[in-house]
Amino acid sequence: MTFRTNLFAGAVALATSAIMATTSFADTVKVGFIGSLSSDTGLSTLRGAEIAIEELNAAGGVLGGKTIELVSADTGEDPTEGIKAYEYLAESEEVDFIISGSIDDVSLGWLPRMVEYQIPTLDTWTSYIGIIDNLVTDYDNYKPYFMNIASDEALATLYIDFGKDVLVDQMGWKSVVILQEDTAFGGAIHGLVAEALAPVAGIEVVDTIVYDVATVDFAPIFSNAQASGADFIYLISSVNSQVVSSQYVKLQVPMGMTGVNVAALGQEYWEDTGGAGGGISTLSPVPSVGFALDPVSQAFVDTYQAKYTSRPKFPHFNGFNAYHGLKQAFAAAEEAGGFNNTSWVDAMLGQDLVLKKDGEMWLRYAFWKPGEIEERTQRTYPHNARFDITAPYDDGAPSMVVIQWNEDGSAGVVYPDKFKTQDFGIPSWVKK
């Protein structure tokens, strides 16, 4: 009896909510967040957006005094749930703009929905070049999409310079063994390293070891790496990177190791690895761990830390991307008179936020325009974050920086020189 009563009550509640959901108020603008509500990266984007929205609302609202309302939809980092989440935001909540903290395959999952609904969408986390390629090949359908983080392709260029300036000139390393996870990401980065880093920087690739992402025991893999006789290890890891890096530390592998290590991007890395992560260096989007901040970004961090006490205690780079990006999206909307037309895309493309530190250009939030060719890589990056990799970094932000975790738990930027806070080094157990 009670079971049925409850069922009935539940049904009524569901029906009411369904009706409520369709009632939207004309004096609000709805922003949807899509991403994982339980990951540090997802929460960084969500909180960056929340702070930006609070500030915009406090400053008198947007688009002639409307308040911004934020609705979030959890993907649980599952591609299918991502599709449902996007549908929910688009059709149940009818949002005007979507900000995303999704990972690669989740973004790829909902992209066909974005094409269908044509809702302006800003991705702050995934850096997959394949998504930008969609804009290259099918601009008309994909044009509401923006990605304000430099894509994979950009990082290789920075890495070639890092290899030449630091690994070869400073460390005197001449040969490398590549440790690559068996994923599409791993394959793509491997191609860049083997075809670009090696020939340009003059580093010989002695061996490439591809490993399965579910690998439990890395001891034999590191043994093989040591047996290859190379001067250092180049690690490419985006999935379960903590495992390979902590085993490198626990096994005290007597070789230097650098590379792309997604786990080491956030401040919680040290806590999560329980300290088994010293010496790990990785490429990181900016603003990275250990990256000196300009006053505007610092103010954002102060607000953030006053407001949130739970993880992540310090926003990841995508939190900054969400904060600045959301403000840019609304600035563009003011210019274009709203979100739902092509003029918003044009206005968004015109956004150019320059953040200065000590009078110097420090960070820049701007987008590549369609057809605009980046000199060094000789390709276009429509709607992707504009990065500058031509020396001497004077007309934009770097695409990425290289950071390194020290054995005392601190971390700093080691490359490029302008942003550098410490020197690149090898862990204490590695003999020079």
Binding site: T22, A73, D105, E116
Partner: protein, 324 residues
Amino acid sequence: MISKPLLRSLIIWAIFIIGMLLLPKIFALLGFSKGNLRTLIQACYLAIFAMSWDFISGRTGYISFGHPFLVGIGAYTTAILSYRFDVPVMYSIPIAVIVTMIGGTLFFLPALRIKGSYFALVTLAFMELMYQLVQVIRPDLTGGTRGISGIETLTRGAVNGYYLAVSLMLVIAFVLWAILKTRIGTALSAIAMNEESVKGSGLSTTKLKLFAFMVSACVAGIGGAFLAHYNGSIAPRALFDINFLFTIIVAALIGGSSTIIGPMIGAFFLTLLLEKLRPWLPGAERYFVYGGIALLLYMYQPKGLYAIFWQVVDRFRTRRGGQS
């Protein structure tokens, strides 16, 4: 001459089909948003997978833990053909279904020799193997870990998508129902009860099992292929995943195993439950509550919602009967 119970079933079917087809209109009248239809579309596909699972596992008692394997073959085949090789959808989907049926035969081989928990485990191994292979072998075709996005879609908009999905589901349900009304259906259920006795009665259990596996694989392949073209994207993590397996099995069981309507009820219940929890529990709590409800329901009534429905009806009937 149509018998009376058959006629009654047919009438219930007709009402059910008309009801499902009119749902968008009813929703429009009630002022519900299109988002509800989107949810129902996902529910329809889940119902198809649950019916496919139930056709093997609910009927013959061979519990499949690798159903995502079959769904994934269907989805990947049509996605690769249409996205990579520009094969028109009208060819790529049938090919995908045939390939899935071949996959179903692979599935079938171990079932010739092993039963029960062992069969469940080997199918789980099939799924895991596929998960690893898809990422390793020819990522240029499968898209590796990221999968494929931008697959040609068959329809646009929630209403069209709904009609496609619901028609697909209803046709499959009706065909499965019709198959089970024949002698084959009775024999299949007998396998679950006592395989030896079926052997004794002179029917070929091997042929019967093969038939059940082929039908199940065919349905999974159709569902997987159409879902790939509805979602427009596929990824290994979305298909060869233990959470997906969980959803399929639980949908069939929560609704009511070895019935046709049960898996459909279960799929709609689970999908709506998960989606309607979203406004209140946006984060991980949602999966916790959703899983918890599924577990309690299953523990309380392993025969599913369909059985609960009839219990309630019976109680109501006897009470009424007692009074009159």
